[in-house]
Amino acid sequence: MVFAVTGRIDFVDEKAKESFTVVRIPTGFGLSDMNLFLQTAAQAFADISGCQVTGASITLNMTLPGGLRTVASIASDIARKAFLQYRTQLSGFFNKLFIPTLDETKTVTGSEDIDQADPQVAALVAAHEVGIPVAGPATMLFTNDRIFPNETIAIAVEQHMKKK
């Protein structure tokens, strides 16, 4: 079953309390069309609300490809993370990722370092560093939240996070 795209509009009131509302829209439209819808909808909300609209976003589901693992290993644990930190193209800014259920066989024996010589680890690191090519041609580059693209890996270690 295909699920609708989720549009979200955020509000803040005079006491700085926050809330949000959700508007679902159909799939099949381009990003610019969905942007226009959310901008128009946000104005309609602002016109009848005493709060200030502080943000709006669109969330859509991605289709998982075939061939992925369908049964988790008995050794898997979301608290065991792959901590990957990348330097970005702007010096002094970094991008951090914590990927759950790191396979411990991907670490260097006797160390918490992730084995960057492992072909599968190397492939993921390379994708994070130089992007993934797509038809166009174009490349999907990985960035930090300020849109500074990743440059090189700085840290790749296993970390255990607190599990609630």
């Binding site: 699920f3 609708a4 509000f11 803040v12 009131d13 005079e14 309390k17 809330s19 679902r24 829209i25 159909p26 439209f29 990003l31 610019s32 069309d33 226009l36 901008q39 128009t40 946000a42 104005q43 309609a44 909300f45 016109d47 009848i48 609300s49 005493g50 709060c51 609209v53 709006a56 976003s57 669109i58 991605m62 998982l64 490809p65 992925l68 693992r69 988790a72 290993s73 050794a75 898997s76 644990d77 979301i78 991008n95 990722l97 759950p100 259920t101 790191l102 492939a123 994708a127 994070h128 992007g131 797509v134 038809a135 999907m140 990985f142 960035t143 930090n144 939240d145 300020r146 849109i147």
Partner: protein, 165 residues
């Protein structure tokens, strides 16, 4: 400053516990291109973990800098909402609520919203008739993508802070 789109992936371990991680990406591609790249990325992630990829989504921020009359009114409160209950072509009910609804949009002596108020009427029309875009008219839907086609009620409600409006 603009913020990057984010790909979020949820991973499940053997005990059924779930965790999510997000990765920002450059905001220069089409949805088809993002999907193509994601299918490659999912396999790369799958190869270094021993949990399972349960689901994934992508979030794009919308630029709202052009909104007018968008400021906080005195005594506004997100806990006072305009509760709009809609029905879709599939027969499902959908709530699209307005946090901090303006108190002069009510019919005096009742909790009902004045649907004849020009701004309320415009909001209702936007939901029922949709918004015209170059790619077609976008009409809000339920989760199964059935269009909203009628308003069942519009009235004032109160809800605690932190909940969805």
């Amino acid at each position: 400053m603009a913020k990057a789109p984010v790909i979020d992936i949820q991973i499940v371990d053997e005990s059924g516990s779930r965790s999510q991680f997000g990765s920002s990406v450059l905001d220069a591609l089409t949805l088809v291109q993002y999907q193509e790249a994601f299918e490659v990325y999912a396999v790369l992630v799958n190869d270094i973990i021993n949990g399972i990829l349960a689901k994934a989504s992508m979030t794009f921020l919308v630029n709202i800098a052009g909104l007018i009359n968008n400021s906080v009114s005195p005594n506004s409160d997100v806990e006072e909402i305009g509760h709009f209950l809609w029905q879709t072509l599939g027969g499902r009910k959908v709530e699209i609520n307005v946090p901090g609804i303006l108190l002069d949009t009510f019919i005096p002596g009742s909790d009902d919203l004045d649907q004849a108020d020009p701004d309320v009427a415009a909001f209702i029309a936007m939901v029922l008739n949709g918004v015209s875009t170059p790619g077609g008219t976008i009409i809000p839907t339920d989760v199964a993508e059935d269009d909203i086609d009628s308003l069942r009620r519009a009235r004032k409600q109160t809800r605690p802070t932190g909940t969805r409006g």
